[in-house]
């Protein structure tokens, strides 16, 4: 096994699941999320610098997943085929998470404006700092703070509406 394959395999084992879950929250479709993360992993070692530096590789993966998720949502809107797949799921008997129906929660997340959704997922799912979230989203930390504040407020009210 060559060096890049070994590095890629290690990266996969350490971060693939987390990135996949982040992508699912960003695009609300498991198979599309898998495609997004697969593509990011295939590109990660195009640069020798990233091959040598694990932090750079991971930062690249996160940025790529975010950018490709954005592109995917944009394409869906343009083609007018955008559908909230999670919203279409029917609630089963085990669909309750912490007292909130999964479908309601997925619906609420999907209804957030894109930037608020990204900020909320990066801050509250991935647990990134404001500064790091801002770097990945290419906005200012103040903007991240505002997105999160509005996103959480909106999510809470949407959840309360539906619960």
């Amino acid at each position: 096994m060559d060096e890049s394959t070994a590095e890629l395999t290690d990266l996969y084992h350490e971060h693939y699941s987390g990135l996949l879950r982040m992508a699912v929250l960003l695009v609300d479709d498991g198979s599309a999320a898998e495609d997004v993360v697969q593509d990011a992993f295939m590109r990660v070692f195009d640069s020798r610098a990233r091959l040598r530096d694990r932090d750079k590789a991971l930062a690249f993966l996160r940025r790529t997943v975010l950018n490709k998720s954005r592109s995917l949502l944009r394409r869906r809107q343009v083609s007018r085929k955008y559908q909230h797949r999670l919203v279409q799921r029917e609630s089963g008997p085990d669909e309750s998470v912490h007292g909130v129906d999964r479908t309601v929660l997925a619906d609420a997340i999907a209804r957030l404006p894109p930037r608020q959704r990204e900020a909320v997922v990066l801050r509250y799912y991935a647990d990134f700092s404001e500064a790091y979230t801002a770097k990945i989203m290419k906005v200012t930390p103040g903007a991240v703070k505002a997105y999160c504040s509005r996103g959480v407020s909106r999510l809470s009210s949407l959840l309360r509406e539906r619960v």
């Binding site: 699912v24 898998e34 992993f41 999964r102 997922v121 799912y125 700092s129 959480v152 999510l155």
Partner: protein, 347 residues
């Protein structure tokens, strides 16, 4: 700057509600079983394409300079080689008790999964975790971050007699009972009293293959298959297994069955692939001569990877990799019994 250079969001009940909700919403999202092979195959294609682009550019520049050179750019893309979800490695227990994954080719330790505080009797390998059945009748789940979690309520009886995992599911056998664990759900299957499950294999759909022995009879073990979602085991009668199967594992084409080549000669085994619905033989399989006779089912193990390669491993530390009709001896950490514990490694 790192991802945690400022405090994580804290505090308000709304934030906590959102945080809990997001985590719970994707808690059961797992990569597909083919995710890693696809990444590696895509990486190889990409690397090959870049090589071709570079070569083409250089040749074009030379052509422009010389004006007279005729160039044929040969596609140098390497063939796509399928790779297992745990590419080229197996899991074993070192002599000091640490569970590790070891590279097949080099014998180099790739990951350490930690050291159980009790004797391990059998191993099963998932995509992200290793499961270890313990002598005290439990099952441990161990991760690459060396976290060890004791799984509660999954062992249907006392001693674990067989264990396997596939696509996020875990199957554990104890005596005549089998537990099938998927997420937070555990389904129990009970075979008739007197039967003992000596080995089991779980495929991606949730289908189970069992090697079952009847304690009340001198008959050789039999193969049984439980369809996904089913709760009864249908015996596969049409396949003549002679002295009975020892071990079994799923492949993409059927069910690989490891059995003694002749009932009286237990240092030679054969792996045959059979159709799990009819029991008919798909492939005659390969013959293996072991370094010493097999005394019991626990002395040998067969496991497969996503590319249908099979690893035949023994408690002596010797292993063979079966790839199609080719058989190669695996060297490395477990080439000597001194290096590894007496549990057959799994791929």
């Amino acid at each position: 700057m790192t991802e945690s250079d400022t405090a994580a969001p804290d505090g308000s009940s709304d934030e906590q509600l959102v945080r809990n909700g997001l985590h719970a919403l994707v808690a059961d999202v797992e990569p597909s079983a083919t995710a890693l092979p696809r990444v590696l195959a895509g990486r190889r294609r990409r690397s090959g394409a870049r090589t071709v682009l570079g070569v083409t550019g250089a040749v074009a520049a030379t052509t422009a300079a010389l004006l007279l050179t005729l160039v044929f750019v040969v596609d140098r893309s390497p063939p796509t080689v399928p790779t297992g979800t745990a590419p080229d490695s197996y899991v074993t227990q070192l002599a000091d008790g640490t569970l590790v994954s070891v590279m097949l080719e080099t014998g180099e330790v790739r990951h350490e999964f930690g050291r159980p505080d009790t004797d391990v009797t059998a191993l099963a390998r998932g995509e992200e975790h290793v499961y270890a059945a313990t002598a005290d009748g439990g099952v441990l789940r161990m991760g690459t971050d060396a976290t060890v979690r004791r799984m509660r309520g999954v062992v249907p009886g006392g001693e674990v007699t067989a264990i396997d995992t596939s696509d996020g599911r875990l199957a554990v056998a104890s005596g005549n009972r089998v537990s099938l664990v998927s997420g937070n759900t555990t389904r129990r299957i009970t075979l008739p009293a007197g039967l003992v499950v000596r080995d089991l294999a779980l495929d991606r759909s949730g289908r189970l293959a069992l090697v079952v022995r009847d304690r009340t009879s001198s008959e050789p073990p039999t193969l049984r298959v439980i369809p996904a979602g089913g709760d009864s085991a249908a015996r596969l009668d049409t396949f003549e297994v002679g002295c009975g199967p020892l071990r079994t594992a799923w492949t993409s084409t059927g069910l690989a069955v490891l059995r003694p080549d002749e009932c009286a000669v237990t240092e030679a085994v054969r792996i045959t692939t059979i159709d799990p619905t009819t029991g008919s033989r798909i492939g005659g399989g390969v013959h293996l001569r072991l370094d010493r006779p097999i005394g019991a089912t626990d002395d040998i193990r067969v496991s497969t990877d996503a590319t249908d390669r099979m690893l035949v491993s023994t408690t002596t530390g010797n292993m063979w990799l079966v790839d199609g009709t080719g058989v190669g001896s695996v060297t490395g950490h477990c080439a000597s019994r001194r290096d590894c514990a007496s549990i057959p490694p799994v791929m």
